[in-house]
């Protein structure tokens, strides 16, 4: 008889969830009216993933990144991506220094050597510079002049990009996009939130939250998120969901075959499961549920589903398609 796995003890998980709630409460006090956004960003951080925030200027993307970094007590770096930014400006470079015993090459680490990197307006840098982040994001290490230097855990990139003012920008290539666990659309705030903002903030600037956690606690939360159980039904749901996004798959729906050019990669399934675990941890649940997939799925899959040009012109989006696929697949899994 197969021995059943042991769920995370309830007390431990409740304590972890309480910490998560504290962090989220602090962030939500700064970023008003965007609880779902902050939940997803924090869940991605717990999943050791990277987040790409896309939205119009002034929606609080940078503030969100700063707030998360502040509450988690992590080292924070910010890089404002510009067209003339060079890879060495991110990863760091060797400089020739005069020492007592002569001149030596010394590595000056770039802003990537941090825990939480805010890559602001990432699409304004050249592809070469954007690619400088590839190794750091996936391998969590930087190689300079043949020397590989690991990045400190936790490492999370929060990148932002502006969907307008596309002139002079370099859209992220698919390989780069795939490195981001989630791509979250930051939408506008409603009237009540705006009223609160302008009435409570005297100089208009948000007050950054204080530190709630420290680095070790974040690492422990990430470890606990790994222990969250993925039930068989959810595993089937996630795997088949990612599989049916590919038009070559025989089980793919007709509209997928029609409008999708490339489907999601296996990395999408990995990140989806991880982000769902983070959401379950935040909600103090021992296992991932269908709601987690429904919540994280569009953000994880939306930017990985590459649509046909015609479909884009028709107003289709990967996110909307992912939502439809999630609903359909969930019905298929539970047989309703």
């Amino acid at each position: 008889m197969v021995q059943k796995a042991e769920l995370t003890p309830r007390a431990e998980l409740e304590e972890a969830a309480a910490r998560c709630r504290a962090v989220l409460d602090a962030v939500n006090n700064v970023i008003l009216g965007k609880e779902n956004l902050t939940r997803l960003v924090f869940a991605t951080v717990l999943a050791r993933g990277h987040v790409l925030l896309e939205g119009l200027p002034g929606l609080g993307k940078t503030v969100l990144a700063k707030s998360v970094a502040a509450t988690l007590g992590l080292k924070f770096s910010r890089v404002q991506f510009t067209p003339d930014l060079l890879p060495a400006d991110i990863t760091g470079s060797y400089v020739l220094e005069s020492q007592a015993d002569g001149r030596q090459m010394r590595f000056c680490p770039g802003p990537v050597f941090t825990n939480l990197l805010l890559a602001d307006e990432i699409n304004r840098a050249s592809p070469k510079t954007q690619s400088a982040l590839l190794e750091a994001m996936s391998e969590r290490q930087v190689t300079q002049l043949g020397t590989t230097m690991p990045l400190e855990e936790p490492f999370c990139v929060l990148a932002t990009q502006n969907p307008i003012e596309l002139e002079g920008t370099y859209p992220l290539p698919e390989a780069q996009l795939d490195r981001f666990a989630c791509k979250i659309d930051v939408t506008g705030t409603d009237r009540d939130v705006l009223r609160t903002i302008i009435t409570t903030r005297k100089d208009g600037r948000p007050t950054l939250p204080g530190q709630i956690l420290e680095r070790a606690a974040v690492l422990k939360l990430q470890a606990m998120a790994d222990e969250i159980l993925i039930p068989q039904a959810i595993a089937e749901h996630i795997s088949s969901l990612v599989a049916v996004t590919s038009p070559e798959n025989k089980e793919a729906a007709e509209d997928v075959r029609r409008i999708v050019k490339y489907g999601a990669s296996p990395r999408a399934a990995i990140w989806l499961a991880q982000v769902c675990k983070g959401l379950a941890l935040i909600d103090c649940r021992p296992a991932v549920g269908f709601e987690d997939v429904r919540e994280a799925g569009p953000a994880v899959l939306g930017h990985r589903i590459i649509l046909q040009h015609a479909a884009r012109l028709d107003g289709e989006s990967g996110r909307a398609l992912a939502l439809r696929l999630i609903d359909a697949n969930e019905k298929r899994i539970i047989g309703t």
Partner: protein, 525 residues
């Protein structure tokens, strides 16, 4: 507390949400699996069921034996069910799927699924109870499909057959087979003309080759005609053989009963007795007749002197010597005609079977030729052989007549002699009557030969049933319209009034009495 009553305290303990959800999940899993099995079975078996029903419908219209295909339907459904059972993954709901549904339906957000797959008792309180039971659904469409299929089967079964079933065809074929057997028997017994038998066999073969499952009206008509013709020919054969038997019997009796010899016969015997060539034959015949040498010499003298007074022993010897058993040449020719159609080998075999002694076919052929030629002068052995042959031929004729009668009985209920096609009244046989333009009576009067009446009418021993001479007390002449007796009075053969046959009602007797002046039968009593 009475039996069966429940304790009035706390009711049965309600299962916890986790246990309740597990039960609901199991129940749902079973019912949903059954639902899916039924749906898949319907989907899989429907084409076959439709095909079988269509086949049954067409068989009703075209070929009823194909209706047996309806039996294929249960087997088809069973085969589909067996296939589905073997491939359980196609319809069986896995436990994790049922648990997932229960989890979603209860809003447990993965906790129930986690507890179903992992241990963690402290999480049991995180499971929520179902607000509404899980329902697997009712396969109404599939049930409707099966109901429609059953209705279609019943409708097909209730449809009348558009073509006769195989059983009817078999019944129709039976007379054909029976007629074939009969014709074969007739051919074997050589009772009917061979050319007609061959033609009849050709007709029957043609009917048999016809692919129609049943006999047509023309076939029935042909069979009927064939039967009538066979019956006619067999009846003729029966009459012929019976007549032959009678003739042979009379000849046999004649041979036995003839006592005297004619003058020519005596002369012929004297010549034979004096002849040296026939000496040996004479010696053998004398030995057979138990005549001594002295008696033989005396007989030779009698014959030479023309005397006619012979003893019985001498008469038998002479008859066997010179007259061929005592038959005249005319009678021998008649015998030859009777035996003309008989097989020599069969006659010889029949003689042996009857215990009449050895008679070879060659001997029979020789005798038949001699009879046809009307040759007299058989020797003693020839006469004996002739007697044997007549006896065997008589037996054979009887057998042939019996065979004809039996075959006639197979052809119809009435014997041949009483049933002729188109002839007679109540015994009229089936079949077409000859268009002779002479009423119902044909011209074949062979069986009623005219006989010359030689006896005295008054002494006739035949019960005629009516008076042939007037009675002593004739009724009133005006009443009978002449000298003939009236219809109410009949007389016996001795001219006596034997009885009064009154066909009148009692109340009419007085009228008759007053009119004729004679007592009625009631008065005579």
């Amino acid at each position: 507390m009475g039996m069966g009553s429940r304790p009035t305290g706390a009711g049965p303990e309600q299962p916890g949400p986790l246990e309740s959800l597990k039960r609901a999940s199991r129940r749902y899993r079973r019912s949903r699996s059954a639902f899916r099995f039924f749906c898949r079975l319907t989907h899989l078996a429907a084409p076959g069921v439709v095909a079988v029903i269509t086949l049954a419908f067409l068989s009703k219209l075209l070929w009823p034996p194909l209706l047996q295909a309806l039996w294929l339907m249960p087997f088809w459904v069973a085969a589909a069910a067996g296939y589905l059972i073997a491939r359980g993954s196609e319809w069986r709901i896995s436990a994790w799927r049922a648990d997932a549904l229960a989890d979603v339906a209860s809003g447990s957000q993965g906790t129930f699924m986690a507890l179903a797959e992992a241990r963690g008792e402290d999480w049991a309180s995180g499971v929520r109870r179902l607000d509404v039971p899980l329902r697997a659904g009712v396969p109404l469409r599939q049930i409707g499909t099966w109901a429609a299929a059953l209705a279609a089967v019943m409708a097909v079964m209730l449809l009348p057959d558009m073509r006769p079933p195989r059983a009817r065809a078999e019944i129709a074929v039976t007379p054909l087979t029976r007629m074939e057997d009969l014709v074969a028997t007739v051919k074997e017994a050589e009772l009917v003309e061979e050319s007609y038998v061959e033609r009849a066999q050709e007709v029957l073969e043609e009917m048999k080759r016809d692919e129609a499952p049943s006999l047509t009206a023309a076939d029935w008509q042909a069979l009927d005609g064939l039967r009538e013709e066979l019956k006619r020919q067999l009846a003729d054969g029966e009459r012929r053989f019976l007549e032959q038997q009678r003739t042979l019997a009379s000849l046999r009796n004649l041979m036995q009963e003839m006592k005297g010899l004619t003058e020519e016969e005596v002369q012929r015997a004297a010549e034979l007795l004096a002849s040296d060539e026939a000496r040996e034959t004479v010696q053998q015949l004398a030995k057979a007749a138990e005549l001594s040498a002295e008696e033989l010499d005396e007989l030779m003298k009698k014959c030479a002197s023309g005397q006619r007074a012979f003893s019985d022993k001498e008469l038998a010897f002479l008859r066997s010597l010179c007259t061929g058993g005592g038959l005249s040449p005319d009678q021998l020719q008649q015998l030859g005609q009777c035996l003309a159609g008989m097989d020599a080998a069969e006659l010889a075999g029949l003689c042996q079977r009857m215990g009449l002694g050895e008679l070879s076919p060659e001997e029979v052929v020789r005798l038949l030729k001699a009879c046809k030629a009307g040759k007299a002068g058989f020797n003693a052995g020839d006469a004996e052989s002739l007697r044997k042959m007549i006896a065997a031929a008589e037996c054979m004729s009887g057998e042939k007549a019996g065979c004809c009668s039996g075959l006639c009985a197979r052809l119809g209920l009435n014997p041949c002699s009483g049933e002729r096609p188109g002839r007679g009244g109540v015994t009229r046989g089936p079949g077409p009557a000859a268009l002779e333009g002479s009423g119902q009576t044909g011209t074949d009067f062979g069986e009623f030969e005219d006989e010359k009446f030689t006896g005295n009418l008054g002494e006739a021993d035949v019960p005629l049933g009516f008076a042939l001479s007037p009675p002593e007390e004739a009724p009133a002449p005006d009443a009978a319209g002449g000298d003939q007796p009236g219809p109410a009075v009949q007389f016996g053969a001795g001219n006596e009034r034997i009885t009064w046959h009154s066909r009148l009602l009692p109340r009419h007797n007085d009228v008759m009495k007053n009119y004729f002046g004679q007592p009625t039968i009631e008065d005579s009593r």
